[in-house]
Symmetry: D2
Subunit: 386 residues, 4 copies
């Protein structure tokens, strides 16, 4: 694979690289890691890349790699830049025939995401979106459980993602991560929903197998001087009528990354928290609660395929990330081998998640400014085609 | 004390009696326990009440007790009937000069609550409302902490109360408790908000020391055929501008009584759950989280005064309930002794909670039917006077 | 009932009184609360006892009460004095025809316990020993589960009871509770095993339905200057061959009362902790773990009979204590009514626990001083007769 | 690096490979993965090793690699075979000038470990032993805390490692992992202590900074027909006089890998569990408990250096393993660069852990067969030299 982004000071770039190499099936062969050529070069060297495949720009990388012979050029491009450039880089990659694995959010706007979807349809290339949390084995298990009907008809969904790292004013001066996320020019129209609310929305849709259909949004810029939301609550209606609440916040002082999902059907409910990701609690209307554990008894094939270790050897965030890499690489390999991808390989968030995610971000920002309570999400042509 | 309600099959009446007797300072001396005289008599006998103080109706009880000499008649009346009769009984008690301790909700409507407030002001009698959860020592500690400014300015409040016991249709046929709560004639205009949402709202106001000022409400009758809400989400604005989310539901299959409150200021947050009520978790922006424990080090005088046992001997729901009894009895005793009640004695939910509670119930039901997002809660004259 | 002990400054006396009155079935009618007559009188008055039944000594109490007519005199005696006087008071009560409910340890020595057993056998009177923790509903459930064979043959038992309140030297100067427990004249031959290790041993035997048969003991006086153990580890063999470990310590700085019991059979294991007593975790060899909850689905009749509230309303230490009172009072009532006590009523720790407890304390103290590893517990004639 | 072991069906070999590659600083360049040449070859191919560096035997590998020019030959050897061959392979590697990183236990006997120590001293080569659990960041934090004196003088150590996977008889027929661990010819003289008890012992010594000085051991073969222990409890005395209990068991049905360590000083205690490895609980005698979290505030430099992600992104077992690889590779690199290894690089279990571990295994097996309670561990000459 080739990488765009992830130079000195980046947080998510190194994590992508760990995730890519964890299973030993993917090799980083080229990249451009920063808009600053010296910094890009520095990263390339630290990664032992050959000098000729440390590129000056993503455009030159696409051109040069495309010119390499089969088997030598990169198989796909990973995009780990700030949000504003995701689309342009993805578009360029597709233009040169490369599959794309992108950090989220996919683009800066739904319109861009629709263009991306169109380009994907035309080229037939593969696209993955690293909504990390959907990579956890117990989230796979949760999805399998809901799909199996074990919980009954889904009626209530609670998803929350409290963080505290942006609770104080002035953090952007101290942290590069904070700075770009709080800058509309780089992050887009939303900080909190764009950065973490969109993860929470995707997670709820992924587990429930139901898209969000309508919203009532309350977005706030709590810390003085912020131009975008740093706190959000969104009431949800899913297509099947289930009610939901999405809470995302960057100003819950003292919270780390406390993503939690609860889904209740008429027979029982499930409860998962990222802080202890290897545990899935099932609560039943008529019998004692159960604790499912990664690697333990009672798991679905999809959950088992996304674990590496026996029960009791905790896996975490990097392994969840690596699951997306391994599964996406499986899709790429299936193409190379001329076979259909397996169910496990196909189970990577993709362009449909990208479209729904960008729609969600735009709709919540708009709805939050409205005095009207409920807003139906607009239809997306590209989604209908899928 | 005298009791109205709590006959055979009642759930909350026996709990009130345990709570009243737990500390050995309150004696049940008379009562009418059911509209059915035989059933009332049966309960009176099981409680070893003298026959002449087992009354046929609450009106005859008030008249007869008022006619007894000082020191012999009951000191206050406890009301544990279904919601529809709370007000009439309280009004009758006050008319005859008796202090009142009432189960919640206080009345069937804000209008009734306002009449009650007026009567209280006229008579100068005492009134307590058993919002049980405000009786837990670690909730007292939470209130002390917020008041002390330790968390900084309160910005975000999350309160949730998921239950699952009404998740299936037809439960009202099997459970007397379910039957009256799902019957508008007895329960009032709301099931879920009236029964548990009002507890959650009171708890958040009690801990934050801030009243709710505006709401956006999403109430649902999820199980087919229900006339009232069995599920509710309410976005909140507190008077100081803090944002909140209140989730109450009776259809979260598998949940017991999972009341949880989180409050975040700009310096840190607190987290409390009724399932493990003796623990209060404090999370800080700049230092490790702390675990405060009932009876343990670092507690406020108010929290300590509401524990009976050394740290590590868990107290629970009955003790929280008993705290309200003990503290209310302290108010009554202070009257009898002609002294001011102490801070601990005064710390019982009262008519202000009653007024805010009834306003909250009415406002959420109305707001839920509106297409408008936000609704400011109307001013209450009786609250201004307090 | 009548009470001996529990005067000003006592910790366990007031807890006994709460436990006795909690269910409204037991009335305290007389007592002697301190060796100091003024202090005893003070307590009697605070409890509204009639002056003539506030006695000067337990001997005068037994004599006077025995002289009262049927239905008027106390039905049983509760003993809540420091350990050294338990036996003499119990013996006196039995001599005058009163049933006895005693705080633990039952006596100061196995020899005394054997005399007590003999006296009980002769008189046919009832005897209960308040090993509090055996009163928790989820401990009842644990006992039911083991007895049902659900876990298979019990193989491994882990019971631990770490406390930290005696971790510092000099605490006896600040705390009356610490002072008598660290004084061999009042506490007997052991502090840690006598006070809490004996609770842990009883709990393990109660749940497993198996007596301890052999021990290997490591008792330590960790804090300088202590005459008795403040820390103990005891390896166990149960009669069925199961291996066990008992850890009790008063010097685990920072621990409250962290009693925990784990029992493993060949099919699964159970895990219970006093800090969250309403939860019992079951782990299975071949399927997901389960969480049983007080008042919830899947409980045995014995467990259900020892809960007062619906699931999700936590009960605690006082209610566990009250279960022993309620059940023992049931035994007394059965006698008065001339019927057999029910299984629930009989389920109170009694003289067999007293005998095994005193044997355990003496044996661990002796074994700890030996260089030999294993010590078989000696047979107790009085136990064989039961 | 080159690898010996880890062919088809191996559990720990693939985990070593993930750990080695996770940080992108170590490359697997050669190996012999099975005694079966076809299986070894199969693994080599799956790892994309060049055919000429997929060796037939570890002896041929050492010879061939040693003959390669500087910079081309492997830098160190990793040993992941069953226990019986660890020593011979390590000895061969050292003979050919290669540093060694070995799975534990280091050898089959203390005598072998002493020979290894001697050879290391002669050659001056590096040796690491992958006691995985010592690689967790919060274990590093625990070690830093104890060393800092924050807990006061260590007095009590509780370490436990219950597993359930060998609870049923006949598992060795179904699991290759079980088969070799229960076969004395491959596993050595102990199953439970050798496999997991030695981990627990090492962890307690690592965190406390104190070696175990004396033991009282109770080892059992619980499941019928077993030749070695599958269950062990060992009472401990550390050199500073602290008392300890080590519980390790493979027959606690339903348990996964529930390693837990508690250490109490006179000022407070710490509590860590592998099931939630990113949390370290500190309990204090005189103030509220604290929760330290990986990546969060309040951590030591050593703990921080062993995390990759910000707080709230859980790392797990593979990352703990990778810490040993990264740190050991740092030692190797320091040699190549002619500099002293840093404190973080040196912080890898080594030959001293190997010696103490083998002594512990031999001593517990011997002590368990003795009727004498306490056994002092014999002095090890090679340890004195360190």
């Amino acid at each position: 694979m080739g990488m765009v982004g992830g130079g000195p000071g980046a947080m998510i770039g190194p994590i992508h690289r760990i995730a890519a190499r964890l299973d030993g099936e993917i090799e980083l062969v080229c990249g451009v890691f920063s808009r600053n050529p010296a910094q890009s070069q520095e990263t390339a060297e630290s990664l032992c890349l050959p000098a000729e495949r440390s590129y000056q720009s993503y455009t030159s990388m696409m051109t040069a790699e495309a010119a390499l012979p089969d088997g030598e050029r990169m198989d796909f491009v990973v995009i780990v830049t700030p949000n504003d450039s995701h689309f342009a880089i993805a578009a360029e990659a597709l233009k040169h025939g490369f599959h794309v694995l992108s950090d989220k959010p996919a683009t800066r706007s739904l319109h861009e995401a629709e263009q991306l979807a169109e380009q994907l349809q035309k080229t037939g290339l593969l696209y993955g979106l690293t909504h990390t949390y959907a990579g956890y084995p117990m989230i796979k298990q949760a999805r399998s459980l809901v799909a199996s009907g074990a919980l009954g008809e889904v009626r209530k969904v609670l998803v929350e993602y409290p963080q505290g790292w942006l609770a104080q004013s002035g953090v952007e001066a101290e942290s590069k991560q904070a700075a770009w996320r709080l800058d509309p020019a780089q992050a887009g129209i939303s900080s909190c929903v764009g950065d973490i609310g969109s993860h929470a929305a995707q997670l709820s849709e992924y587990v429930c197998g139901e898209p969000i259909a309508a919203i009532c949004a309350d977005l706030n810029a709590v810390v003085e001087g912020r131009e975008m939301d740093d706190d959000a609550t969104v009431l949800l209606r899913f297509e099947n009528g289930a009610r939901g609440v999405l809470i995302a916040s960057q100003i819950c002082a003292g919270e780390e990354n406390n993503l939690r999902l609860r889904v209740y059907g008429d027979k029982g409910g499930l409860d998962w928290q990222q802080h202890e990701p290897n545990t899935l609690c099932l609560k039943w209307a008529d019998r004692p609660a159960q604790i499912l554990r990664a690697g333990g008894p009672g798991l679905s094939p999809l959950a088992l395929a996304n674990s590496r270790t026996p029960a009791g050897h905790p896996e975490g965030y990097l392994e969840a990330f690596a699951n997306h890499y391994r599964n996406f690489a499986g899709q790429v390999r299936a193409r190379l081998e001329g076979r259909d991808a397996t169910e496990v390989e196909r189970d990577v968030p993709g362009i449909a998640d990208a479209l729904r995610g960008m729609r969600f971000i735009e709709a919540t920002v708009a709805a939050s400014q409205s005095t009207q309570k409920w807003h139906h999400l607009q239809a997306i042509a590209a989604l209908e085609n899928k």
